[in-house]
């Protein structure tokens, strides 16, 4: 709990969560400008647009998820204290999800309204975000670890994260039927299970 509380506090510190939500809403607002004000078209593309905006917003905190702790020696101290890196990375995924997903889901309610989605459609988007954001948080932490300490880490993070997040996008924006949600949950679970090990291995490869 000490570790999760610390990471959640850092997630919200400096307006981190607010920045993600602000970016998400701004990205969502751009879509009607690009594709026109036709309500039927907006309602049809709404779920997809919300997911694209969510993926782009998920990129924002990636550089702050692992790199500062690697540079400050915090992760070395964690290892000296006998804590396992995969466990610490798993807790970081939980903390990142707590700091990032609930505000994003609240912002998605607003975004759904902007696209003129009905209640049922907004419900499907929220269900998909609930199932998909853990996978997105896991991807963000793994990407943060893989790019920590590299020059141009921000751009590289985008190149890594966005393709890997495609299954989440496809099944998350896939209309919200039960089959798509099951596949979304499976992909999310796979990412949550694998990301701590990938992140830990990436950190060791840099620090060892």
């Amino acid at each position: 709990m000490t570790l999760i509380a610390r990471d959640v506090r850092r997630g919200y510190a400096g307006g981190g969560a607010g920045l993600v939500c602000g970016f998400f809403l701004l990205a969502v607002v751009l879509f009607p400008f690009a594709i026109g004000p036709d309500r039927a078209v907006l309602a049809r593309v709404g779920a997809g647009a919300i997911w694209v905006a969510a993926l782009l917003a998920a990129l924002l905190p990636v550089e702050r998820l692992v790199a500062p702790d690697m540079e400050s020696g915090w992760l070395d101290q964690i290892r000296v204290h006998g804590l396992s890196l995969p466990l610490v990375m798993a807790l970081r995924i939980v903390a990142h999800w707590v700091a990032f997903a609930p505000p994003l889901m609240l912002a998605a309610l607003v975004a759904g309204g902007l696209f003129g989605l009905d209640r049922a459609a907004i419900g499907r988007v929220e269900a998909a975000l609930l199932l998909g954001t853990p996978g997105l948080a896991a991807l963000a932490v793994a990407t943060g670890a893989l790019t920590a300490g590299l020059r141009g880490a921000g751009g590289l993070a985008g190149l890594l994260l966005l393709p890997l997040a495609l299954p989440l996008l496809i099944f998350g924006a896939g209309g919200g039927d039960l089959g798509a949600l099951k596949l979304l949950a499976s992909v999310s679970l796979l990412l949550v299970a694998g990301a701590p090990w990938i992140a830990a291995a990436a950190i060791r490869s840099v620090r060892d």
Partner: protein, 194 residues
């Protein structure tokens, strides 16, 4: 035995830094490692801490240890007392130990100051306070006197002496003269330590 290195070799980035290094520290012991920059002093401490694996040889250590490096690993936005309490809680130490440790290193009055506002010397003292609060038997100190003023160096020597008197052991690297009575001197000056 608190730390034992047996015929250890260390390689970093494909380069052999040192080989056939043996060292044993028991309760009350200390070893001072000296040598030019890049010879492997910090790597020796990381190896002793278990952060890197030896290229050859074996390392046995106490499961509880404290590592002090130039990276202080304290969250810059948090108050000093809170930042140290985080680590104390991970150690299972009582929060009260943090206040004692801060007093020991002369930072008691700065407990409420954010870490980012501390000077270089105060940061070094804060890192030392984490070791003091940990009550770990083995201290690994990388250039602990760096950035400290004369009074700080005297404090450091006193804290090390108290730790040893309490049954702890210390392995430290330094470029500056430090009074560590009875310490083993280890000069890294090439592949085989002198």
């Amino acid at each position: 035995m608190i730390l034992r290195l047996s015929d250890v070799a260390c390689a970093r980035g494909g380069r052999l830094l040192f080989a056939r290094l043996s060292l044993s520290l028991s309760a009350g012991d200390a070893a001072v490692v000296t040598g030019p920059n890049g010879i492997g002093k910090s790597s020796l401490l990381r190896l002793a801490a278990g952060l890197i694996a030896p290229f050859e040889g074996t390392v046995e250590r106490s499961p509880r240890l404290a590592l002090m490096t130039e990276d202080i690993a304290l969250d810059p936005e948090r108050r000093l007392g809170e930042a140290l309490t985080f680590w104390a809680r991970l150690n299972g130490s009582a929060d009260a130990r943090v206040a004692e440790a801060l007093a020991t290193v002369g930072l008691a009055e700065l407990a409420e100051v954010p870490v980012r506002l501390l000077s270089t010397g105060q940061r070094r003292r804060a890192a030392l306070a984490r070791a003091v609060a940990s009550r770990a038997p083995l201290w690994l100190l990388d250039e602990p006197g760096s950035g400290l003023d004369a009074e700080g160096v005297v404090m450091l020597e006193r804290v090390i002496a108290e730790h040893r008197a309490g049954g702890g052991a210390v392995l430290l690297t330094t470029h500056q003269p430090l009074a560590v009575p009875g310490a083993q001197m280890l000069a890294l000056d090439g592949l085989v330590p002198a």
